[in-house]
Amino acid sequence: MSATKLSAPEKTVPPRPLAPSLGAKPLPALFPPTLLAGVALVAAGLLYALGWWNPAVWAIVTAVGYMVLITAASALIENRRKAKDRLVTAIVYTCFGIAMVPLVSLLWTVLSKGLVRLDGYFLTVSMNGVTPSMDAGGAYHAILGTLLMTLMAALISVPIGLMTAIYLVEYGQGRLKRAITFFVDVMTGIPSIVAGLFVVALWILLFGPGKTNGAAGAISLSVLMIPVVVRSCEEMLRLVPNELREASYALGVPKWLTVVKVVLPTAIAGLTTGVMLALARVIGETAPLILTAGSSAVAINANLFEGQMMSLPVFIYSQVRMGGVINYERAWAGALTLIIIVMLLFLAARLVSHFFAPKTR
């Protein structure tokens, strides 16, 4: 079939000598951590001796010193590529450390200041009849308000947002789809106070001036929540492979059943996470709630449709505004409560993801 003759090459290329680096010994695995500890010690000693001791300066000196030394050591003992690798690794770790600083600091501050007042009493009484500087009162009314308003916002936003996402991914075409995508994007960027103002105006139109209640707060939250739910659910639905939809169609399953029974279950873990992220986004909203649900409620109010309703962010805001020592303590305890609620929500989301996600084993 082929006419080419196989013949031995006329000249043999001399084998390339192995690069010396291939044989070079790498730095021992324990060298980097030892070096880091050494640099940290020397830097600490030096700063003490010079009288410039300061943790931030110490961290910077350590990081820079370590980067210089490890690069130099690696360049001498290993090779240039390894040296670059060591340098970049050090930079990446340093950036990670820097990113952790505000997070750890925040958690530490909230924990240390919030735990002063966070106890069963704080969680179970309201501020009804408590004067600002009195050593009493708690956040029960605010916790209740936050939970109720967020729940109502979720009940409004999740169906609307999820169905919009289903429309965009499974059904939408052409102009209408582009228009919806555009407006969802615009809504994502709405400042929260504007959402609050919008609901205030709506309430004045519908019920007359001065009618603030929890439902108004919930609706302003859902204005903020819907676009977030749409965006995250849309991404999750797009991740469902088309092959699964085709497999379902090929079995003679109508489109709506395919969406309900194949696409949604496959994406359930991502959808839950998306909804939880949206909830976490609105649970800390303050501005729209001050406008809509009021900022002066002190009593327990479990009725979303009657009277002002306190929420944890607004509780924190109004306590801080009063300015006394005890008010600050209450504000920190409120902040810690809020963080705990968000953490519980995420824990719940992880559990849902864990139990409903597609399994392979």
Binding site: L244, E246, A250
Partner: protein, 259 residues
């Protein structure tokens, strides 16, 4: 109940682009028909028009007639969903439903359509379909495990079991072995030979040996040129196509000389 497929004067368009031009052929019941041809020549596209799966792609449409026995599947009163219940399909990449167990994957055609099955009935369908797909012995002890836990070849046989569980009359296979190793391929080919006793089978393949091994009739598709639509060049008994094709183009393709 295997059914005959009669295609006449079928054109497939994507929007304004004519993808497949003027295909006419008859596919006999209880036989295996293989579509061969280079990539992009429209054989998969044509295959998908046989159960209206092409309609899933936006802008795709056909002109012409496809008769399933005597029923025109493109008649205005025909529901594509009903067509797909009658004409099952197996895809290139195994695609078991990841949220379902092996058991549920097999009866997915019923479950997804909200059809209630008695437990005994479901058990029977699962066993019959898995036996039909030569998978029963391998999975009978772990029917409650996820479908995705199987190997690629087993997953593909699971997909075939899923397709035959709803008792279609025709089974379309779009390169069912191209993602599989030779052993799994052999298993699927054996299965195809068994299935043809009860079904009309149409298979798209890039593997000419496979077409020669499994099919009774072979159809060769080719592009008329770059940017031109794909065409049915020749259809005939597999033996004849591979030994004495009538068209020069076919001969070039199957002997490996192109153009």
């Amino acid at each position: 109940m295997a059914k005959r497929i009669d295609v006449s004067g079928l054109h497939v368009y994507y929007g304004d682009f004519l993808a497949v031009e003027d295909v006419s052929m008859t596919i006999e019941p209880r036989s295996v028909t293989a579509f061969i041809g280079s990539s992009g020549c429209g054989k998969s596209t044509f295959l998908r028009t046989l159960n209206r799966m092409h309609e899933v792609t936006p802008g795709a449409r056909v002109e012409g007639k496809v008769l399933l026995d005597d029923q025109d599947i493109y008649a205005p009163d025909v529901d594509p969903v009903e067509v797909r219940r009658e004409v099952g399909m197996v895809f290139q990449r195994p695609n078991p439903f990841p949220t379902m167990s092996i058991y549920d994957n097999v009866i997915a055609g019923y479950k997804l359509n909200n059809r209630r099955l008695r437990k005994s009935e479901a058990d029977e369908i699962v066993e019959r379909s898995l036996r039909g797909a030569n998978l029963w012995e391998e999975v009978k002890d772990r029917l409650d495990r996820p479908g995705a836990s199987l190997s690629g070849g087993q997953q593909q046989r699971l997909c075939i079991a899923r397709a035959i569980a709803v008792e279609p009359s025709v089974l379309l296979m779009d390169e069912p072995c191209s993602a599989l190793d030779p052993i799994s391929t052999l298993a699927i080919e054996d299965l195809i030979s068994q299935l043809k006793e009860n079904y009309t089978i149409v298979i798209v393949t890039h593997n000419m040996q496979q077409a020669a091994r499994v099919s009774d009739v072979t159809a060769f598709f080719n592009l008329a040129g770059t940017g031109k639509p794909g065409k049915l060049i020749e259809i005939g008994e597999t033996n004849k196509i591979f030994t004495k094709p009538e068209k020069k183009e076919t001969e070039n393709y199957i002997t490996g000389r192109f153009g």
